[in-house]
Every structure is written in C-alpha cells, then in structure tokens.
C-alpha cells in the first residue's frame, strides 16, 4: 500500500493508509479522520493504535503482577529470576518485531519501544535485557542474517533464549571500532581470539553476536559480526561485574581463546560489521530513551502519591509552591523526553531519517532520568533514601543511561554533526 508522506517543519503528515501496515482499528481511523486536514492527517504522538494500546495494557499488567514482586530480590541478589525470564518469553515480549513465521509477534518498532517503557516503569534492569533482545539481537538477525541462520536462531531468540551483543572491549568503548578481537580464517572456520567487556545478558544468553576484525590492517572495514553459540569451545564467560545499578542484568567479560566458528555463522557480509553495528545502535538508542522515560515514570509513580499524603506544617509536601514548581518542571521535561522518544520511533517506523532525533531522545531522556530520580529522593525526604521505598533503585539504575549505548558526549557529537550538515 503506498503512502504519501512529507515533512513540514516539525510535523509529520501522512495519508490515512500508513505504508505497509494499514490500521484497521475503528478507533484510530476515526481519530485520524478527526485530525484530517486538506493535506492529509496527523495524530498526536501519544495516541496509539488499538494493538499498541492492547499491548501496553497487557505488558503493564504483566510487569505489575509478575515482575514487581521480584524486583527487590533480584536487585539484592544481582540475579535475574529464570522463571520470570521464561514467562517473558511465553508472553511474547522477547520477539516483539519478529515475524510470526519465526514465532514472534510481528508487531511494530513502536510497539517494542512502548513495551520497553512499560517494563522499565517497574524494573529497568529487566527491561534492558528485553531491549537488547528486541532492538539489537532480533533486528540483527532479521535484517542481516542469511535465511539458514534466521531459521535456525530466530525462533530460539523469539521464544527460548536471550542473545548478547558483544562489541565493547577493555580498550574500546566509545571508540568502538578500535576493537582488537581478531577472526582468522582457517579453512571453513574463523578462529576468534580476544576479549569483550561489559556484555549484558551474558549469563543467560544462548548466542553471542560477536564483533571481531578479520584484518586489522583494514581498520574498521575488517569488522565482521559472528554468531557464536554459548557452549562453543574457546568461549569463556567471565564472572559478572558488580555494579551500582541494573544489578540483576548480568554484565560480564567474555574471553575468546582460539574459538572456532563456522563461516556460515558470519552474519551478513564479511567486513560490513561496522555498518550493521552503526545501524542497529542508532535504533537501540531509542530503546534506551524508552527505558529512561520508564525509569522517570516509575520513580514518579512512587513519589507523587507520597508527597500528597505526607503533611508538614499543616499541608502536604506538594502544596508547598517550591516543590510544586519543581514537580511541574520535571513533568514538563518528562513530557518532552517522551515525545522525543515516540517521535524518533515513529520516524524510524515510517522509514524516515531518524538518527539525529534518536541521539537527541537518548541524550535528553538519560540526562533527565538521572536528574529526575535525584529530585524524587529530595522531595521524598528521608524515606527516599531507604531501600524499602524503592525510589533509590531507580536513582541507581538511571545513572548508566548517560553512559551506555553511546555516552552523552558522543550523542552531542552526533547531533552537532547533523547541525553542520543541515546548514
């Protein structure tokens, strides 16, 4: 189905038939008609299609019923509950965009983003695993892997086990493509040598997407993505790193010692790994933005009721104007962060350029999350500082947002580059 899409300043107008996914929902169609103009129609970013709304409801309930009771325990033990992981797979949360032919839900990118936001609202540590699974691992397979690899691994990723995205190393974080792990061709195999650092999902992953260089003399043009199964000889998963936050998400070093991988496990083309990586991380960024707005919302869910109930000097905390103003300011910024995130997700869904917007969304949301969670603790007073109350966890969890999947400074570089391009 064809669509007419053009952009006027910051508003996006689309015809009522949206690209290849016509929306049959009566509710949204009537809304689309309501906002119809002579040139086309537009809906506010916070209006969702029927299946997006249903998905949000179901994920929210799942998160409240199944994840919430386990949050404290998982944070204190720094372990993911394996039954919970299984039930997340059963609910279809791990292969949201994957085609039903491979056991996924066949939903849109926006749906995946909304799901990450809903889960983050309850536990961003559980959400990060889900985000990496959906926006990096499954997308990597769907977009770049051969049909044989897809048939073999996509159903597993959608229904059984996690994947891990192994890019960063000890000596290459922001400078990702200075990675030193090598892949040497040996007959029908590649032999991988090197190590990776900070790899999320490691302990629970069934497969690893490992970026290694087949020819260091070519620089980043030698980087290739290898799909390596968990029990492959030569691959060792190091012990999980003890972190400030996202504690139940296992973050481990990986060691490759003459690890043999068949050439059929190369994802896409040799030497194109850097390209795939850039593409995926641009989208993954939107997932992190969604996680961060979820964190903000989760902290507020606990804080706002409390500061309305707690009274000092004869009135509720929220009734003091200075507090009310701070809350209003944070809520306004959260609204901005949410709109930035949703808009970049929609741009990506519509096949429009979104890299700058995604960088803005991630930068803005993660910086906000760090600040907003700190404010929540201030408004709460003493209880905010206690483990029991639950907000301090959001405060700790938020911090990594400005660092991983591209630090804030890197995002600013990206945004500035686009500013240069546009002028």
């Amino acid at each position: 189905m064809s669509s007419l899409i053009w952009r006027t300043s910051t508003r996006l107008f689309a015809s009522t038939t949206i690209s290849h996914r016509p929306c049959k929902s009566n509710h949204v169609t009537s809304l689309l008609n309501k906002f119809s103009t002579d040139n086309g129609s537009a809906t506010p970013l916070q209006v969702f299609s029927e299946e997006e709304s249903m998905m949000k409801s179901t994920v929210r309930r799942f998160a409240e019923d199944r994840i919430k009771p386990l949050v404290r325990e998982m944070d204190e033990s720094s372990k993911m509950d394996e039954n919970l992981l299984k039930s997340m797979f059963d609910a279809g949360l791990m292969g949201i965009e994957v085609s039903p032919d491979y056991g996924g839900a066949g939903m849109s990118f926006m749906a995946a983003i909304l799901a990450v936001e809903e889960v983050s609202r309850i536990d961003p540590s559980v959400a990060v695993g889900m985000d990496i699974q959906n926006t990096l691992c499954c997308t990597m397979m769907t977009r770049f892997a051969s049909e044989e690899l897809k048939e073999k691994y996509l159903p597993q990723l959608a229904t059984r086990y996690l994947g891990a995205f192994a890019l960063s190393e000890d000596t290459s974080g922001s400078d990702a493509f200075a990675l030193k792990t090598t892949a040497t061709r040996n007959g029908d195999d590649y032999v991988i040598n090197g190590s990776k650092m900070w790899i999320s999902n490691s302990e629970y992953a069934g497969v690893f997407f490992v970026f290694a260089n087949v020819d260091l003399s070519q620089g980043y043009k030698g980087i290739t993505c290898f799909l390596i199964e968990k029990d492959t000889p030569g691959l060792t998963i190091g012990p999980p790193i003890d972190k400030l936050g996202l504690k139940s998400s296992s973050t481990c070093p990986l060691f490759f010692d003459n690890c043999q991988v068949p050439i059929s496990n190369v994802i896409g083309d040799v030497g194109k790994g850097y390209k795939y990586c850039i593409e995926l991380l641009n989208e993954g960024r939107i997932g992190i933005a969604a996680q961060m707005i979820g964190v903000c919302q989760g902290a507020l869910d606990l804080t706002l009721p409390y500061i309305q109930q707690r009274h000092q000097f004869g009135k509720s905390i929220l009734e003091f104007q200075s507090v009310a103003h701070q809350v209003a300011d944070m809520l306004t910024q959260l609204e901005c962060a949410q709109l930035l995130t949703y808009n970049s997700a929609r741009l990506r869904s519509y096949g429009l350029p979104f890299v700058k917007e995604a960088a803005m969304a991630k930068y803005y949301s993660s910086e906000l999350a760090a600040q907003l969670t700190r404010c929540c603790i201030d408004w709460l007073g003493g209880v905010g500082f206690t483990r029991d109350f639950g907000v301090e966890k959001f405060y700790r969890d938020a911090k990594i947002g400005t660092i991983y999947e591209g630090t804030s400074n890197i995002q600013l570089n990206t945004i500035a580059k686009y500013a240069l391009k546009d002028t």
């Binding site: 299946e51 179901t58 609910a91 279809g92 056991g103 839900a105 066949g106 939903m107």
Partner: protein, 258 residues
C-alpha cells in the same frame, strides 16, 4: 479433536479497578471521559474458564459478547486475544441510554442472542465492578428457563451435566446442573492468562459481528431515572473508650443506636 460445545461469555467494559473514581460535576454520574477502562475482572475469569474448557476439548466455538458504545470493541479484542474465536458487539451509542441500562435489559439482550446462537453453556462474571448488581446471570437463567449456578469457584463438565462448587455464605456448596446452563464466575474460579503479544496480533483477524439491539427486538427504554450521584460520606475516625459504661453511654447518648 476440538470439543463441540459452543460457549457464550459476556465481557463488560468497565472503569479499570485501579482508577480513582470521581463524581461528575453535574452529579449525574461518574467521570468516564479519558479514564482508563478494561474488561470487568470477573468477566476475564469467565473468559479464562471458557478457554480452559476448550483446552480440555469440551468446548468448541467461544463467543464473546459486549453491549455498549464503540469502545467495547477493544474489550472484545481482549477476549479474542486471550483465545476466543468470535465477538458480538451489541452496539449502543446513545450515551444517556447506555447509562440507564440495567441487568434486566442486558439479560434480555443475552436471551435473544442465546436463542440465535444456541450455546451449550453461558458463563458471565458474577457481577460488574461498577454496578455490583449481581443480577444479570440469574435473570438470564430465569428468562431462558435454564438452570443457573452462581458464585462458581469450580467447574467441571461431565457429558450433559456440569459439576459446580459455589462459594456461599455458609461455605462451599457442591451441586450438579443440567446443561445448557448459566454459570456466573467468582474470584477463585481461576487466574486469567495474559494476552500474549503474538495473540494480540492474531486477534485482529478474528471477526466481530455488530448487532443493533432493535434488531433483536429488545426494548432498552430506561426503567430507572438517575436523580443524583454523590460521593459516599467521609469515614470518620473511630473513638476509643475506657470502659463498658462509657461505651454504653456513648452508644445511647451520642450515636443514638440503643
């Protein structure tokens, strides 16, 4: 091999249980605009029970019914996403008319649908969390002259009979009812499943038939007239007394109850 019994389940769209209810400024109802709605929790339990009957190969076609404005379509889609085959939306778009509907109106609508669809079993939630009437199932059974089993906490089908455990004031009552029958679901009957994301997408392809209540020949004109809706009185704090004499004195002279 699927079972053959057709099961009809009612799914009411109500304000979500977690929402803080607010009385409308005109004091003629509660605020519903922009407020989160979902399927009545007891109806979800009814939906779940029907799906389990199909998994046990007793039930065949599962039909969800909802009466109300166009948003009820969402409620039906939830039932479809949980696993139902077909939805029937009895469309009532007149808001004022909708607000004066009572269990008897709904029971009459369901009776007409039952005549048409001929299910072997009807499962309703025991009550809706907005009206709390606890009447529709019982009235429907009366209109159909069918056996009824309300407050069901356990259900098993054995040929032409249903074995039911009911939760009653005195404890648990075990009865046997002949099918076809009307069953109303109580809280402990089961724990409803989540609509998985793949099933939410599959639900889009399942049919929802729209029915005009006039076509059914049911008179929906109001039997009640809403005069006023207001908040319940604010609960006052309790008072501690020092001894029995003081208690009696206060009950007599302050509360005026003895």
């Amino acid at each position: 091999m699927a079972g053959s019994m057709k099961v009809l389940v009612g799914c009411k769209r109500v304000i979500d249980y977690a929402v803080k209810i607010r009385v409308r400024p005109d004091k003629m109802g509660v605020v519903t605009d922009g407020v989160k709605h979902s399927m009545n929790p007891f109806d979800e339990i009814a939906v779940e029970e029907a799906i389990r009957l199909r998994e046990k190969k007793i039930a065949g076609e599962l039909i969800a019914v909802s009466c109300g404005p166009k948003e009820c379509g969402e409620t039906l889609r939830t039932a479809l996403a949980m696993g139902f085959d077909r939805g029937i939306h009895v469309e009532i778009n007149d808001r004022q008319l909708y607000e004066t509907l009572t269990p008897l109106h709904i029971a009459k609508i369901f009776a007409k649908l039952v005549e048409k669809e001929k299910p072997g079993l009807v499962i309703l939630g025991k009550q809706a969390i907005d009206g709390d009437c606890n009447q529709t199932g019982q009235m429907l059974a009366g209109l159909l002259k069918w056996p009824q089993a309300s407050f069901t906490s356990k259900l098993s089908i054995d040929g032409d009979w249903a074995h039911i455990t009911r939760e009653v004031d005195g404890g648990l009552e075990n009865i046997k009812v002949a099918l076809p029958a009307v069953v109303t679901a109580d809280l402990r009957l089961n724990e409803p499943r989540y609509a998985t994301l793949p099933n939410i997408m599959k639900a889009k392809k399942k049919p929802v038939d729209k029915v005009d209540p006039e076509q059914l020949g049911v008179d929906l004109s109001p039997r009640i007239h809403i005069i006023k809706v207001e908040d319940p009185p604010v609960r006052e704090a309790g008072v501690k007394v020092d001894n029995v004499d003081e208690l009696i004195d206060r009950l007599k002279n302050e509360a005026g109850v003895i």
